[in-house]
C-alpha cells in the first residue's frame, strides 16, 4: 500500500465512522423507541428469545414502531432476562427477570399508554424519578468496566455500533507506531496475561518480535474450558470486534500476518459473532489498511478437550493432531505453530488492548495493584445472591467482590465457607483470605491461582472433600495421558478422595495426598497436571478438620457425602406430596396434608425430595 492509498483509506474510514456515529446517535436520541434485550447464551437460556418474540408481537398489536436490538450480556445474570427500553424523552429504562408476559405488559404500558412500570434501573446520567441508575445498583457500583465497556450496550453484530464507540481507533494508533514502540507501550501498561498464569503480555510479544522468521502467527486462545467460568464467552458474544482489534494490534507488534482464533465449539453464538466481525472488518479494508500490515484470520473450533487451553496442546490441535502438550522451552514465541514464532493471548487480554492503546499505558496502569495492573473480569457464581459477570480493578478484596458485589451467600442462614478461584487449577480459600486483595502474587501465596477468572462461592452446605474430589475427577478425565505424574497422579488422588468420602480411609491418606500433590506439581509436563493438585492441597491446608471428620468420625458436616447422611422430613412439611411423587425409590409415605416420612431403609439419598421441596422441610443430618 502506498501513501496515496493510505490517505484514501483514512478518508474512507473517517467517512464510515461519521456514518456509524450518526446511526448510533439516532438510535440513542432519535424518535423511534428502542427495546434492548440481553441475548447472549445466558440470556437466551433464561428466556430472552421468548421475550423478543413477545415484544415484537406486542408492538405490532398496539401499532407502535420500535426497534428491537439483541445486545450482549451486561453482567448481572441473576436479573436475566434483562430488557431495556428507550422511549424518546426518557432515559433508557432497565427491566429485570422479564418473562414474555411481563415484556408485553411493560411494552404496552410504556409505548402504548405512556405509563411507566417501575424499572430496576435507568441509564441516564442524572437522578430520575426516584429510580436508581443501573450502574449504581449494588452489584454494578463497585465495578470498573474497561474490557466490558460495550457488553450489553451495543449490538455485537452491528459494526457501526463498535465504530461509533471509537472502535478500531486503538488499532489505527498502534499500526502507526513502530512495533518496538508499540511493545514498549504495552509493557508500560503492565498488563499481564488474563488466561491465568499472568505472564507479562509485552514481554511475551518482545520475545516473538525478536525472532527472525518469514512467517509468524498470532493466536487468540478462546478455549475457555474451566467449569464455572464464562468471562470469555460473554466478551466474545457481547463485543467480538474488541477481541479482533486486540488481535490485530498484537499481530502488528510481533509481525504476524496470520491469525487463528481457537474457540470452544460449545460456544456457537460466540463463533457466529466472531465470523461476522471478521467479515465486517475485512470488508472495511482493515486487514490491509497500512503499509507493512497485512492480516488474515481464521476461526478454529475446539473439539472438546480441556487440555487444549494449554498453549502447546492448542497448537497441536490447530495442526490437526491430538491435543497433547509438549515440554517448553522452546516456548511458542520462539517455536510455535508449524514451528514458527507464535504469540498466544487470551480473549480478555486481547479485548483489553484497544483500551490501552486508545487511552494510553499510564491510564491503564493507573488501575489496579502494584504488580497486577488494570482490571479483571470474573464470573461470580455458586452460592451467592447476585451471580454474574463482573469487572473490578485488581487489588480489590475478595470480600468486596463476594459480599458487596455478590450480596453474600445465597441463604443468610447458611454462612460463607470458601471461594474457589482459578477453576480446577486453583485453590479453595477460606474466610481468612477474604480481606486479601486479589492479585497474582497473593493468590499464589495462598496456594491458588488467578486463573481465567472463575469465582465459585461455597457455603456451609458445600463439602470441601466433595469439591476436591469433583475437581480431581474433572482433571483426571481431562488429563491427556501423555505424562505419568498427571495421568496416574490424578487417578490415585480421585481414588483416595473417594475412599475418604466413603469412610474407608485413614489419616495416612492425607499425607499420601500431600506427597502426591508435590510430585505432580513438580513432575507434570504442563500446567494441567502441575496445578491439578491445588484444590486438594488447599482444602487440606485450610479445612483439615473436615477431612479428619470424614476419616475419624464418619461425619460430613455439610451433609453432602452420602455414606454419612440421612434424610428426614421436619414439621414444616405441608403434606403436599410433591416429594412423595418425585421419590425414585418410593421411600416417602404420608397422607395428604400430613407430615410425610422417609423410610431410611429404602432411601437412596439422591436428594431429589430436597430439591423439589418448596418448604425447606427435607433435612439432611450427619451424626
Amino acid at each position: 500500500m502506498n501513501s496515496a492509498e493510505l490517505a484514501e483509506f483514512r478518508q474512507s474510514f473517517s467517512g464510515k465512522k461519521a456514518q456509524a456515529s450518526k446511526r448510533w446517535d439516532d438510535l440513542n436520541t432519535g424518535s423511534t423507541p428502542v427495546v434492548y434485550v440481553g441475548a447472549g447464551s445466558c440470556g437466551r437460556a433464561a428466556g430472552a428469545m421468548d421475550v423478543i418474540a413477545s415484544v415484537e408481537k406486542t408492538t405490532e398489536r398496539i401499532k407502535v414502531k420500535a426497534r428491537v436490538l439483541q445486545v450482549g450480556c451486561i453482567g448481572p445474570c441473576y436479573l436475566e432476562p434483562l430488557m431495556d427500553i428507550r422511549k424518546p424523552g426518557l432515559p433508557r429504562l432497565s427491566y429485570a427477570n422479564v418473562t414474555a408476559k411481563k415484556a408485553a405488559e411493560i411494552v404496552e404500558a410504556l409505548l402504548g399508554r405512556g405509563e411507566m412500570l417501575k424499572p430496576v434501573g435507568h441509564f441516564g446520567e442524572q437522578a430520575f424519578d426516584g429510580i436508581e441508575r443501573f450502574f449504581d445498583l449494588p452489584m454494578m457500583k463497585p465495578q470498573v468496566r474497561v474490557v466490558l465497556r460495550n457488553c450489553g450496550i451495543i449490538d455485537p453484530e452491528d459494526m457501526d455500533h463498535y465504530l461509533a464507540r471509537d472502535g478500531y481507533e486503538g488499532f489505527l494508533k498502534a499500526v502507526a507506531m513502530q512495533p518496538d514502540q508499540l511493545i514498549q507501550e504495552v509493557e508500560a501498561s503492565g498488563i499481564r496475561g488474563r488466561g491465568g498464569a499472568g505472564f507479562p503480555t509485552g514481554r511475551k510479544w518482545r520475545t516473538c518480535y525478536e525472532q527472525k522468521a518469514e512467517q509468524k502467527y498470532m493466536i487468540c486462545n478462546a478455549d475457555e474450558g474451566d467449569p464455572g467460568a464464562f468471562m470469555n464467552r460473554s466478551l466474545l458474544e457481547g463485543d467480538p470486534h474488541a477481541v479482533l482489534e486486540g488481535m490485530m494490534i498484537a499481530a502488528h507488534a510481533i509481525g504476524a500476518s496470520r491469525g487463528y482464533i481457537y474457540c470452544r465449539s460449545e460456544y456457537p453464538l460466540a463463533i457466529k459473532r466472531l465470523n461476522q466481525a471478521i467479515a465486517d472488518a475485512r470488508s472495511l479494508g482493515l486487514f490491509r489498511c497500512f503499509p507493512n500490515f497485512e492480516f488474515e484470520v481464521k476461526i478454529k473450533e475446539g473439539a472438546g478437550a480441556f487440555v487444549c487451553g494449554e498453549e502447546t496442546a492448542l497448537i497441536a490441535s490447530i495442526e490437526g493432531k491430538r491435543g497433547s502438550p509438549r515440554p517448553r522451552p522452546p516456548y511458542p514465541a520462539v517455536e510455535g505453530l508449524y514451528g514458527k514464532p507464535t504469540v498466544i493471548n487470551n480473549v480478555e487480554t486481547l479485548g483489553t488492548l484497544p483500551n490501552i492503546l486508545r487511552n494510553g499505558a499510564s491510564w491503564y496502569a493507573g488501575h489496579g495493584a502494584e504488580k497486577s495492573k488494570g482490571t479483571k473480569t470474573f464470573s461470580l457464581v455458586g452460592k451467592v445472591k447476585r451471580t454474574g459477570l463482573i469487572e473490578v480493578p485488581l487489588g480489590t478484596t475478595l470480600r468486596k467482590v463476594i459480599f458487596d458485589i455478590g450480596g453474600g451467600p445465597i441463604n443468610d442462614a447458611k454462612p460463607f465457607k470458601a471461594v474457589q478461584t482459578g477453576g480446577p487449577s486453583g485453590g479453595c480459600l477460606p474466610e481468612a483470605y477474604l480481606d486479601k486483595p486479589i492479585d497474582y502474587e497473593n493468590l499464589a501465596a495462598a496456594g491458588s491461582i488467578m486463573g481465567s477468572g472463575g469465582l465459585i462461592v461455597m457455603d456451609q452446605e458445600t463439602c470441601v472433600v466433595d469439591i476436591a474430589a469433583y475437581f480431581l475427577d474433572f482433571t483426571q478425565k481431562e488429563s491427556c495421558g501423555k505424562c505419568t505424574p498427571c495421568r496416574v497422579g490424578t487417578r490415585v488422588m480421585v481414588d483416595i478422595l473417594e475412599r475418604i468420602k466413603k469412610g474407608d480411609a485413614d489419616e495416612d491418606d492425607l499425607d499420601k495426598l500431600e506427597r502426591l500433590g508435590e510430585t505432580m506439581s513438580k513432575g507434570s509436563l504442563c500446567a494441567l497436571g502441575k496445578s491439578a493438585p491445588n484444590p486438594v492441597k488447599t482444602t487440606i491446608r485450610y479445612f483439615r478438620d473436615e477431612y479428619l471428620e470424614h476419616i475419624r468420625d464418619r461425619r460430613c458436616r455439610s451433609g453432602v457425602c452420602k455414606e454419612f447422611i440421612t434424610f428426614t422430613i421436619n414439621a414444616q412439611c405441608t403434606g403436599c406430596a410433591v416429594c412423595l411423587r418425585a421419590c425414585p425409590s418410593n421411600a416417602i409415605t404420608g397422607l395428604k396434608k400430613e407430615q410425610h416420612v422417609i423410610d431410611t431403609a429404602k432411601c437412596i439419598k439422591c436428594g431429589v425430595c430436597r430439591s423439589v421441596c418448596q418448604f425447606d422441610a427435607v433435612e439432611v443430618k450427619s451424626p
Binding site: S41, C42, R44, A45, A46, C77, E80, E224, G225, P227, G228, A229, F230, S265, E266, E296, K298, K300, E301, A303, G304, A305, I318, E319, G320, K321, R322, G323, S324, Y338, S379, V381, G382, K383, T387, G388, Q420, P424, G454, I456, M458, T462, I467, Y470, F474, E478, C576, A577, V578, L580, R581, A582, P584, K592, K593, C606, G607, V608, S611, V612
Partner: protein, 162 residues
Amino acid sequence: METVTNNREQLIPLLQQVQRREGYVSHEAATRIADQLKIAESEVFGVASFYAQFKFYPPGKNAVRVCLGTACHVRGGQVLLSALERDLGIGPGQTTKDRQFDLDRVACLGCCALAPVVTVNDEILGQVNPNKLSAAIRRAGKSKAPARGDERESDPAEDGKE
C-alpha cells in the same frame, strides 16, 4: 488462506463436518477422510478418539446433556444426572434402547449463573429441578420413562396443587 500450508489442518474440521451432518463418525466416513487427506485411517481415529466431541455410534433422537460444571455441581447437577439415569434407564454416554434419548455429561456450558443447567437438544434449561426436567423430557420425545409416581394408585400430582 484456504489453500492452507498443511492439509492435515483440515482433519478436525472435516471430522466436525461429519459429526454435524451424520451425528457420528462412521467407519466409512473416517476412511473417506483418511483418503482425502492421504493419511492413515489409524491417524484419523487417533485424533478423533482424543476429542470428546466425536462419537462413533449413531446418536439417539434427542440429546440430553447435564452440565456438571462447578457451579452446577455445587447447586445439585449430580442430583439431576441421577434422576435422568433412573428416568431413562441409561448412564452418561449411552443411548436408550428405543434410540429416543442420548444422555451425556458436559463440563460446562458457560451459563453458570443459571445453575443447575441441562440442555435438551438445543433448549437450555436453567435452574431446573428433577420435576421440571421430567416434564421437559416428556415434552421432548414421548418418553417411555413413566412419569414419576404414575404407577401409584392415587395421583398426588393433583393433591400437590392444593
